[in-house]
């Protein structure tokens, strides 16, 4: 009875908080000063046609580094908690494996390269069109997921993935330090020539950081999925 009372009390309090949030909400017709600076000056300062990736990787580069660090800790924690006991995939330990149907296998063979290429495209064109390292890495990892779901006996080279992922992370920080030395601050991408707005080789170090981010996120998410599968 007391427990129920507490639940109702908590619900009412949450309702009050949200009601105040919704009540005080008004649609803004102009950008806030900081956002306006990003939108108007961002393309000129960074040379990135896609403002969002410019903000994520340069202005808010430190936050992105924090996100990647969180992801790294998740992967490390999962590695500790879901350690592989025996050798080999124990997928077949509980239930006998049913072979995937012809349709699924063929579909995977057709789709897998396409998804990988699309992921690489999203990673590399982050400074030009929607996307960037994080999104592209997630797309690559979903391709790995498709492979693992349709062919459960596939084994990932976890050691190789971990090394790749660590190297990408170290290089990411190194480029950040280069920005600190050669340009305005940590993770400043302007130490490389800006190039022409909209060209593939442009926007300073943003594409490089984006590619490193994509490799890191893709490898990390693949490792996380592989830890859960078993």
């Amino acid at each position: 009875m007391i427990r129920r009372g507490f639940i109702i009390l908590a619900l009412v309090l949450f309702g009050l908080v949200f009601a105040r949030l919704i009540g005080a909400y008004q649609e803004q017709s102009v950008l806030r000063p900081l956002a306006e600076h990003y939108v108007t000056q961002g393309p000129r300062e960074l040379g990135a046609a896609n403002v969002i990736t410019g903000i994520l990787i340069t202005y808010r580069g430190f936050d992105t580094l924090g996100e990647v660090a969180v992801l790294f800790m998740v992967a490390a924690g999962l590695g500790l908690l879901l350690r592989r006991d025996g050798d080999g995939p124990s997928v077949s330990a509980n239930t006998p494996l049913r072979p995937a149907s012809e349709l699924v296998v063929t579909g995977t063979e057709v789709l897998l390269p396409l998804i990988f290429v699309f992921g690489a495209y999203v990673i590399m064109h982050g400074h030009l069109s929607a996307g960037g390292g994080f999104q592209g890495g997630a797309i690559v990892a979903s391709a790995v997921l498709l492979l693992l779901v349709t062919q459960p006996l596939t084994r990932l080279r976890l050691d190789l993935l971990s090394i790749t992922e660590s190297f990408a992370g170290v290089l990411f920080v190194c480029i950040g330090l280069l920005g600190l030395i050669l340009a305005g601050g940590f993770l400043d991408s302007r130490f490389l020539p800006q190039g022409q707005l909209g060209a593939f080789f442009s926007a300073g170090a943003i594409p490089i950081i984006s590619i490193l981010l994509g490799i890191k996120v893709g490898a990390e998410l693949s490792v996380i999925i592989d830890r859960f599968r078993r």
């Binding site: 929607a130 996307g131 994080f134 999104q135 979903s142 997921l145 998410l221 996380i224 859960f228």
Partner: protein, 87 residues
């Protein structure tokens, strides 16, 4: 027209979210939770935020759903503990 579409998508988010909580069959609840993310991704596209939509579609409705799938298989095999009466 766009407002109506966004309203429809938001109804979809709410409905699939409520279904994900209420459904007894864990597998169906998992699919419903993935559907919530998918509807959210569509709404982001409609609101002109394709960058966020990509991440939401890939992680929210792709990876997270399948992590639930693996978790369900490892725990009770898709049978709700409420039905069987075990712990």
């Amino acid at each position: 027209m766009l407002d109506l579409l966004i309203l429809l998508i938001c109804t979809g988010i709410l409905a699939s979210g409520v279904l994900a909580v209420c459904l007894k069959d864990l597998m169906a609840a998992m699919i419903s939770a993935g559907l919530t993310s998918l509807f959210a991704a569509v709404s982001y596209v409609l609101l002109a935020a394709p960058d966020v939509a990509m991440a939401e579609a890939a992680i929210g409705s792709g990876l997270a759903t399948f992590i639930f799938l693996y978790a369900i298989r490892r725990t009770s095999g898709g049978v709700s503990t409420m039905e069987t009466g075990e712990e």
